[in-house]
Symmetry: C2
Subunit: 135 residues, 2 copies
């Protein structure tokens, strides 16, 4: 199961210490470059769209199974947290497309570190993706 | 960027035609096995928890860049849809843990095909993961 980078994120956050705990806490506008061979997959994307953006946490500790989350004193399993450190460091952010210029997106709501490989973008559908809808 | 399977999903859906368009449309309870070497990462998971579950769409067409979504007549870029067919077939479902028995979870809200490799579980935090919070 080999991932292909489909783009690259430019971020002011250089280390995990710089980054907010969640993308939702970030007010930074970031540049997301979609590699030219994948721009066809952007057809119909509009400024203002809410999206799921998935990137690869390439500086994560993939051996981490437990962590002490901020504000807690005891260990949690990483699958019950949002820690970036986990066996498959797949980071899912719900963010908003601010601007589209060719293959360059400006996005707000991302917690990515600078240079993170982009893996996927999906449209975010409130009716489907809201906690209250979970059976 | 090589993914490690952390578990495996047992599903009544054998083909894309069998599966609902979205996990939220599924009322099926599915069995999710966490491989023994990763059960430490489940510490603190509770029955009833809403979670993000990420699996690998191992039967997806990874060459697909455009698709005609159900109910539409014109092509969309796959990054503006929830099509399972995309360069990196990372499927994100918001679902609910119904039961936990050792390393076996029973989960509702999944659209996975039978045998799909599990990649990651994160807790779902309504405050952070709701569309209305997107700036």
């Amino acid at each position: 199961m080999e991932l292909k980078p489909i783009g690259r994120i430019t971020s002011p956050y250089k280390t995990h210490q710089d980054a907010p705990r969640q993308g939702k806490m970030s007010k930074e506008e970031m540049i997301v470059e979609i590699f030219p061979e994948y721009t066809d997959a952007m057809l119909g994307m509009r400024e203002g769209d809410p999206i799921f953006l998935i990137y690869w946490g390439d500086r994560a500790d993939r051996s981490a199974l437990r962590t002490v989350p901020p504000g807690h004193s005891e260990e949690h399993g990483v699958f019950t947290t949002r820690s970036p450190h986990r066996p498959n460091p797949l980071a899912v952010n719900i963010c908003r497309v601010v601007k589209i210029e060719g293959n360059i997106l400006t996005v707000v709501g991302l917690d990515a570190l600078d240079g993170s490989p982009l893996l996927d973008i999906k449209n975010h559908v409130p009716m489907l993706d809201t906690h209250l809808d979970v059976q």
